[in-house]
């Protein structure tokens, strides 16, 4: 079979997971305490009116039929109405995708920009003072709360040095870039700890490997070996690590969007929870879960593209 044939059949394997995601989202909304019809009509509604609304929304049908309607509506992109914004949920979410996507992609790029040099330095001078300092950073960095890190960066770069805006998203592209640097740096600093740690370990393993020894025996310089042999090989597990951390990354972006008042999906979610806008909560949760599944799939494709030995 062709190496890339999994791109065709893997989505089929994802169907049970997507099915499960939809069931869990349905269960979440079904377990909201209180009767939705009573909430809609108030406590003084007549039993006839309650029964009519119940029939209108299919709430008098068995649970699995209700789930079936829910699924059918999802299929046509219908996720219900937001109580707070008085608009359909899906367009509301679509408006909020850009800042979140910007934050996630920017953070991943910055993470690599921080982690690759740090891990290279630590692996090259293993056991020296530099290595110990970098390892101390990776151990302590695991415990840095992203929201606190964001505020510390605001105090340092915005309040004391006046380099970046304190919060907000900006209008033009340049303006947005200017606004997004600190949020991205916040997530990247927290994430780079775990990435640096793993990258350093795989670099050390690669440095001791047979192919590196063979390259040395050919008389190639250490820097050439590092760039052409060690780095590409140790980046492959890093891609996987980032894929595993996609869920964490999205969770982190929810919090960081709140810290910096970014109008993204995370901020939408948090506001919806406060205002009991359950359809929005359900919609954002569903979209985030599907995004996680999709990003993991993309990471699989990238891994196969980067490493000819991997077969999925």
């Amino acid at each position: 079979m062709h190496r890339y044939s999994f791109v065709l059949y893997r989505p089929l394997q994802l169907i049970p997971v997507l099915f499960g995601i939809s069931v869990l989202s349905f269960v979440l909304v079904k377990s909201i305490p209180g009767d939705p019809v009573r909430m809609l009509l108030g406590t003084k509604a007549t039993p006839e009116a309650v029964a009519r609304i119940r029939a209108l929304y299919g709430l008098d049908e068995p649970l699995f039929m209700q789930y079936f309607y829910f699924l059918k509506n999802l299929g046509i992109g219908e996720m219900g109405q937001s109580i707070l914004y008085k608009t359909p949920v899906l367009p509301l979410i679509a408006d909020r995708v850009a800042p979140t996507l910007f934050l996630v992609i920017g953070s991943v790029l910055l993470t690599l920009l921080i982690a690759v040099p740090l891990a290279s330095v630590a692996a090259t001078w293993r056991g020296r003072a530099v290595d110990h300092a970098i390892r101390a950073f990776t151990t302590a960095g695991l415990g840095f709360p992203a929201f606190w890190l964001g505020i510390m960066l605001i105090i340092l770069f915005s309040v004391k040095l006046g380099l970046f805006p304190v919060a907000g998203y900006g209008e033009t592209v340049i303006d947005k870039l200017h606004h997004m640097i600190l949020p991205c740096l916040t997530v990247a600093l927290a994430l780079s700890a775990v990435v640096t740690r793993n990258l350093r370990a795989s670099m050390i393993a690669e440095l001791a490997s047979d192919h590196a020894t063979a390259a040395r025996a050919k008389g190639l310089s250490e820097s050439w070996i590092f760039r052409r042999h060690i780095l590409p090989n140790s980046l492959i597990p890093a891609i996987n690590l980032l894929a595993i951390n996609v869920g964490w990354l999205i969770g982190g972006s929810v919090v960081v969007e709140t810290v910096f008042s970014l109008p993204g999906m995370g901020q939408l979610l948090v506001r919806a929870i406060f205002t009991r806008d359950y359809m929005v909560v359900q919609g954002v949760t569903l979209v985030f879960a599907c995004a996680t599944v999709l990003l993991n799939f993309i990471a699989d494709v990238l891994t196969v593209a980067a490493d000819p030995r991997v077969k999925l």
Binding site: P16, G20, G143, W248, V255, T292
Partner: protein, 289 residues
């Protein structure tokens, strides 16, 4: 692993032995030291905190760090040091309870899945896949949205979401041990399935979960304080580090100390548990340096 399988001493002896034998294990000793120190701070909070963590004292509001107030005061004149000390009670409790229930639930489900196999295993593991498909914090927030904000909602959400990692970990171990010789021996002696699972298999695969639970405390404390920061966990005026950081964010231009010190407290508590996890893994031979 091996000494867990072989030693017959009681849990206390083993625990003491683990600490004593870690003489070259700096991570373990440093981690245990930091965690123990936080536990003492939490336990002795009423005696070591110089001020009441909640009572307002408006004449002294927004004072920078000084001899009287080493960490400064907030906008209500409350001493930040005292609040950080009392916060250790909540955050440590959050870490312990937030790990305990996922640990118990996950270990039970994982061992049942691994030992029973067949359709039970398939169903339980598909459930794990589905829960893992959701971003951890997002699913937590969705559950809290339904239960309403608060510390107990956080514990329930944690139990509903956090068990999956333990279930996976334990299941993998049980699958390996299920076919080992000592289990075959126990089975040939006619022992019941539950007895074999709980008395023979589980004690041998629990070490990995315990080490994982130590690093999991870091994740739980970070999530708990983040959820409290968002206003959906512990509620003010309770002195909790995430809550304190949220309260201090309005004053970052004038009073950096309100946000800085609770954050450092989280970092140091997390560091303690990270080091403890690393040290334990090393000590039990679960991970190479």
């Amino acid at each position: 692993m091996s000494d867990f399988a072989l030693s017959r001493g009681n849990w206390l002896e083993r625990g003491i032995g683990a600490l004593r034998l870690g003489r070259a294990n700096l991570n373990l000793r440093l981690g245990a030291g930091i965690v123990l120190a936080w536990a003492l701070v939490a336990l002795l909070a009423p005696w070591i905190a110089p001020f009441d963590p909640i009572a307002h004292n408006l004449p002294d509001k927004l004072q920078g760090p000084s001899l009287a107030y080493p960490f400064g005061t907030d906008n209500f004149g409350r001493d930040i040091l005292s609040r950080v000390i009392y916060g250790a009670r909540i955050d440590l409790q959050m870490g312990v309870i937030g790990v305990l229930f996922p640990f118990l639930i996950g270990t039970t489900i994982g061992s049942i899945a691994g030992y029973a196999g067949g359709w039970v295993d398939s169903v339980l593991m598909r459930l794990v896949d589905v829960v893992l498909a959701f971003p951890f914090l997002v699913l937590m927030l969705a559950i809290i949205a339904i239960l309403g904000p608060g510390l107990y909602s956080f514990y329930i959400a944690m139990a509903l979401v956090g068990w999956v990692s333990y279930a996976r970990l334990v299941r993998a171990q049980v699958l390996v041990l299920k076919t080992s010789d000592f289990v075959t021996a126990a089975r040939s002696l006619g022992f019941g399935r539950l007895r074999i699972l709980f008395r023979h298999i589980l004690p041998n695969c629990i070490a990995g979960s315990i080490v994982f639970s130590m690093s999991d405390v870091v994740l739980v404390v970070l999530s708990g304080s983040a959820i409290s920061y968002l206003g959906l966990g512990v509620q003010p005026p309770t002195a909790e580090w995430g809550v304190m950081i949220a309260e201090g964010q309005n004053f970052i231009t004038t009073a950096w100390w309100i946000t800085t010190f609770p954050g450092l407290a989280i970092v140091f508590m997390a560091l303690g548990f990270s080091l403890l996890a690393d040290g334990l893994a090393e000590r039990l031979g679960l991970r190479q340096r």
